[in-house]
């Protein structure tokens, strides 16, 4: 009976992984001609502009609450700005996470790989913890500008790490390696 349960669990995992494999192949094929600057995280940089736009929208409505206490709910028109920003930052995170993973699997030493993977897991945990708490806040009162700032910090840290990695490899003359990493992640 145990072996049958194991096979069922494995079958579910197999289906999920196969779908992901198809997505990977599709993505690699689709980004062959994408300019290099679009292959690295970039949306998070627009946080200041997003904050300004949201501030202007809130001012138009003449809400009396302090800026830090303003909550953006799904039903409000300015939430579209938040949604667009979140979509971009989510893409940034996935991209940065993939590049980080692609670089560290080339590590020749297991110990080094494990330590780098641990750093990757930590940023992953921070991101998913933010997603869970944002989902909860959206169910209750809406998300604040501070929540968006926290997410931006998480993604910016990851993007900084990725940029440092790629710059270090480029400076050491491994331009081809960096290009292959960007095209395949």
């Amino acid at each position: 009976m145990v072996s049958i349960v194991v096979v069922i669990l494995l079958a579910i995992s197999l289906i999920v992984f196969l779908r992901q494999q198809k997505d990977i192949a599709r993505r690699i094929a689709s980004q062959r001609d994408v300019p290099r600057e679009n292959l690295v995280p970039r949306h998070y940089k627009s946080f200041t502009e997003v904050e300004k736009t949201l501030w202007a929208a809130v001012q138009k409505q003449k809400r009396s609450t302090a800026w830090e206490d303003v909550r953006f709910k799904r039903s409000e028109p300015e939430f579209q700005i938040v949604r667009d920003y979140l979509r971009g930052v989510r893409e940034d995170f996935s991209r940065g996470h993939r590049i980080f993973g692609q670089v560290i699997i080339h590590s020749p030493e297991m110990n080094l790989f494990a330590q780098l993977e641990w750093q990757r897991v930590k940023s992953e945990v921070a991101y998913y913890r933010w997603c869970a708490s944002a989902w909860l806040r959206l169910q209750t009162g809406g998300i604040s500008i501070d929540d968006l700032r926290q997410l931006t910090e998480i993604v910016a840290t990851l993007a900084y790490r990725v940029r440092t990695m790629l710059t270090a490899f480029e400076k050491s003359g491994n331009l081809e390696f960096v290009d292959s990493i960007l095209r395949q992640s």
């Binding site: 194991v6 995992s13 494999q21 690699i28 692609q102 590590s107 297991m110 840290t157 992640s185």
Partner: protein, 262 residues
């Protein structure tokens, strides 16, 4: 034991598929890319031919038939284990740290399963079938886990398998999974289930072969160029520097957070 017409049809279908698959492997020159898989397919054809010839010459219940069947099963099982190792190697060879760990793990699994099978064989009244069946039980579940882990690794680090390799993984997994379930039922109802056990085994293998044949119908796509490699010394030096930098940043951020709360 007399085969029913449907069982006979299944056997013939299986034999036909084995010959077709073998022809396609050579026609598409798959042996250049996956030599162990190609060797395994050739072995399947040799096995079916030899077993059929022995049955015809000496009869189904004869000693040579019994001996040939179990020896051939052991050889084919060993070849399948090599195919799983080959798939792991082709997917992970570009990642030295991971491949060295996986290689050790695969070796460990093989030693553990074979030792267990040897112990069971010594206790069994018929050591050869005892050894083959126990090794098969252990290896089938190991194959199922290893193949899913291989795809899981690909999903985690965004490494895509080629279409041929992916179909081989699916085919092998389908057969191993069927075998695990089949063996679980077999151990519960033994003789009453024997006919079903044999037929399910044949059907599962026919499905696996159809999955393998699918990508071979067309010309193989050129092998994807692997990731550009980096020299070992450069990779170690740069990654160590980056790790130290990351730790520094983390410590700095912790310090800032602590000073904020004071």
């Amino acid at each position: 034991m007399q085969l029913t017409p449907s069982e006979t049809l299944l056997w013939w279908l299986g034999i036909g598929l084995k010959f077709l698959l073998c022809a396609l492997v050579f026609y598409r020159r798959l042996y250049r890319r996956l030599p162990f898989f190609s060797f395994y397919i050739v072995l399947l054809v040799v096995e079916v031919t030899v077993v059929w010839w022995v049955y015809r010459e000496w009869g189904y219940r004869s000693f040579p038939a019994w001996y040939t069947y179990w020896s051939a099963s052991a050889v084919v099982l060993f070849a399948r284990a090599l195919v799983v190792a080959e798939l792991s190697w082709t997917s992970l060879r570009s990642y030295p740290a991971i491949w060295s760990l996986v290689r050790k793990l695969l070796g460990l699994i093989a030693v553990a399963v074979l030792t267990y099978a040897a112990i069971m064989a010594i206790r069994n009244r018929s050591p050869i079938p005892g050894f083959v069946l126990t090794a098969e039980h252990g290896l089938e579940i190991s194959f199922a886990v290893i193949l899913v882990a291989l795809l899981g690794f690909g999903a985690r680090y965004k490494v895509a398998l080629g279409p041929v390799e992916r179909n081989i993984v699916i085919g092998l997994w389908v057969y191993s999974a069927f075998q695990v379930i089949n063996n679980a039922f077999m151990s519960q109802w033994m003789n009453r289930y024997f006919h079903w056990w044999v037929s399910t085994r044949v059907i599962a293998f026919d499905i696996a072969m159809l999955v393998w044949i699918a990508p071979l119908r067309k010309t193989l796509p050129p092998a994807e160029p692997g990731p550009t490699l980096l020299s070992e010394s450069v990779a170690v030096r740069l990654l160590r520097e980056l790790l130290a930098q990351m730790r520094e940043i983390t410590e700095e951020m912790k310090r800032i957070t602590r000073s904020k709360w004071k």
